[in-house]
């Protein structure tokens, strides 16, 4: 297996892109990444997306559709899907192919179009990530499922709701410095206290916004990456994926993200490092409870102590383990099938020193973790400067 480097990235603003179709979004992000890489051709194009297949007015065969749009006829192209974990899963699929020499250059493009679908249909689409026979028919929305976890967590560990506020405040503060973020306004603890309940105890500021978006990354063999000015090379140091039951009610320990622990442990081992060496963590903060659980599962906090890292400022840009540095899912937005690619592109830009106003002072090793459903697919990647 050879070293794989990030050749370039492309990201669109997460927004309501009324004038752009799902294919337009993907194509633009792909072109931006190709341009950033100085390439006009790749061997494979992988699309990561969740919702386009969910309605009979949707689009299958997105791989071919997008590759053709970008002018890449003849390449290998297909879609990778693992619900909201699609982005990370697709990147891993491409990494394996490049690292093993099956192909040389791969372009991963995550795309999601959500804002032109009516509310109940989006809710139903998101629910396809859950167990369609035993969770969904009972009526819980995806938010409700996460609310069940948060309520139990608070019950077991005694955290007041307000302890989760800093997750939201941090994300929004970072998003305010990211011109590509869906939500670019800071929020206060009062905003959090007064936020409307969505599915108790989850309020509006605990939950990430939907949006249209696309992000793309080109990867290839590290040894062939031509120098790009002063830009540091970014390598894939660790990659791993694990799964768990789809339904929360089938988990061994519902308050533990077992697949996060498993995939993080494998990624750490591959990279030859541990939580202490991670300078930033783009975790999957679809809901604030997921931030807490992710931090715990990846070894940054003891079980039940995740919120402490929020309360004591560890998650801030100047803290011990900065998270959501571009706004995270909470403020940058959560275009579900594309999110995992956004996370990785953001880590790459931090390590390349190209994070603009979101730039951290110290960013040599970064971790991105993408979650499908309520924790059923979890893909962890570690990138490092080299």
């Amino acid at each position: 297996m050879r070293d794989v480097a990030i050749y370039g990235t492309g990201m669109l603003r997460v927004s309501e892109h009324w004038d752009l179709s799902v294919v337009d979004l993907a194509g633009r992000a792909a072109l931006e990444a190709l341009h950033d890489s100085g390439l006009d051709r790749v061997d494979a194009l992988l699309v990561t997306n969740m919702l386009s297949a969910c309605q009979t007015t949707g689009q299958l065969n997105l791989g071919a559709r997008v590759a053709d749009w970008v002018g890449l006829r003849g390449v290998e192209a297909y879609k990778v899907e693992a619900a909201c974990g699609s982005g990370g899963a697709g990147f891993r699929s491409a990494w394996i192919a490049v690292a093993s020499g099956a192909i040389d250059l791969a372009l991963i493009v995550g795309v999601e179009k959500m804002t032109e679908t009516p509310g109940p249909e989006i809710t139903a689409g998101l629910a396809t990530a859950a167990d369609a026979d035993f969770e969904v028919p009972m009526g819980p929305s995806f938010v409700a499922l996460n609310a069940l976890i948060m309520r139990r967590y608070q019950h077991e560990y005694g955290w007041p709701h307000e302890a989760f506020a800093p997750f939201s405040i941090n994300a929004h503060a970072n998003g305010a410095r990211n011109p590509l973020a869906r939500l670019q306004e800071a929020v206060t603890v009062d905003d959090y206290r007064n936020a409307r309940m969505v599915s108790d105890p989850i309020n509006l500021l605990d939950a990430s916004p939907i949006g249209d978006g696309a992000a793309a990354i080109v990867i290839g063999p590290a040894e062939r990456l031509a120098p790009w000015g002063q830009r540091p090379r970014v390598l894939v140091a660790g990659s791993a994926a694990a799964t768990d039951s789809l339904a929360i009610h089938d988990r061994r320990v519902p308050l533990h993200l077992a697949a996060a622990e498993q995939s993080a442990a494998s990624a750490y081992a591959m990279a030859g490092l541990g939580p202490k060496e991670i300078d930033l963590f783009e975790l999957h903060d679809a809901f604030s409870i997921m931030s807490a659980l992710s931090l715990e599962a990846c070894g940054f906090a003891e079980p039940g102590q995740g919120p402490r890292l929020a309360v004591d400022g560890s998650i801030l840009p100047g803290g011990r383990i900065p998270i959501a540095t571009f706004g995270g899912l909470k403020a940058r937005g959560h275009p579900v099938g594309a999110t995992g690619v956004y996370q990785l592109a953001e880590v790459a830009r931090q390590l390349q020193g190209e994070a603009g106003d979101c730039q951290l002072d110290r960013a040599r090793v970064g971790m991105a973790q993408n979650i499908g459903g309520s924790g059923a697919t979890i893909v962890t990647h570690i990138l490092r400067q080299a």
């Binding site: 809710t123 026979d133 035993f134 028919p137 009526g139 819980p140 929305s141 409700a144 009610h249």
Partner: protein, 133 residues
């Protein structure tokens, strides 16, 4: 919910029929044919009592397609007395506030309807357990 799919899941929806693993005696609901505990085949049916307690709960306000007319409604994780957990709506709550740990029992109720001309889908919901006087 499609007719044939609903028909297949009937035994679980109406009667809380699951499985018991012949190898390790683990009780399984919903049924799944391979025991999640020991990995052996598990197809022996097992009838659950329908009693359990609330593990967690929440109120759904933004309902998915098909459930809009019932919103807001309360959904919960129920830990059955025999061990497994399941997801279900709570019903017959009256004025009673829901609490984690509250004992509940299964009833069969209408979950949703598939539009004006579609099927009425029935299934399990849970209500606060009625105590003997």
């Amino acid at each position: 919910m499609e007719v044939s799919r609903h028909w297949r899941l009937k035994q679980q929806r109406y009667a809380l029929v699951g499985e018991v693993c012949p190898s390790c005696q683990h009780k399984i609901f919903p049924p799944r044919d391979i025991c999640p505990d020991c990995g052996q085949e598990a197809r022996t049916t097992y009838q659950f009592s329908g009693h359990g307690e609330v593990y967690s709960f929440t109120t759904v306000r933004n309902a998915p397609t098909g459930f809009e007319e019932n919103a807001p409604y309360t959904v919960a994780l129920i830990k059955l007395d025999e061990g497994p957990m399941l997801t279900a709506q709570l019903t017959d709550l009256g004025e009673k506030p829901v609490e984690i740990g509250m004992p509940v029992e299964m009833v069969t109720r209408r979950l949703r309807s598939d539009g004006e001309r579609g099927m009425l889908i029935y299934g399990y919901k849970f209500r606060p357990a009625l105590k003997a006087a």
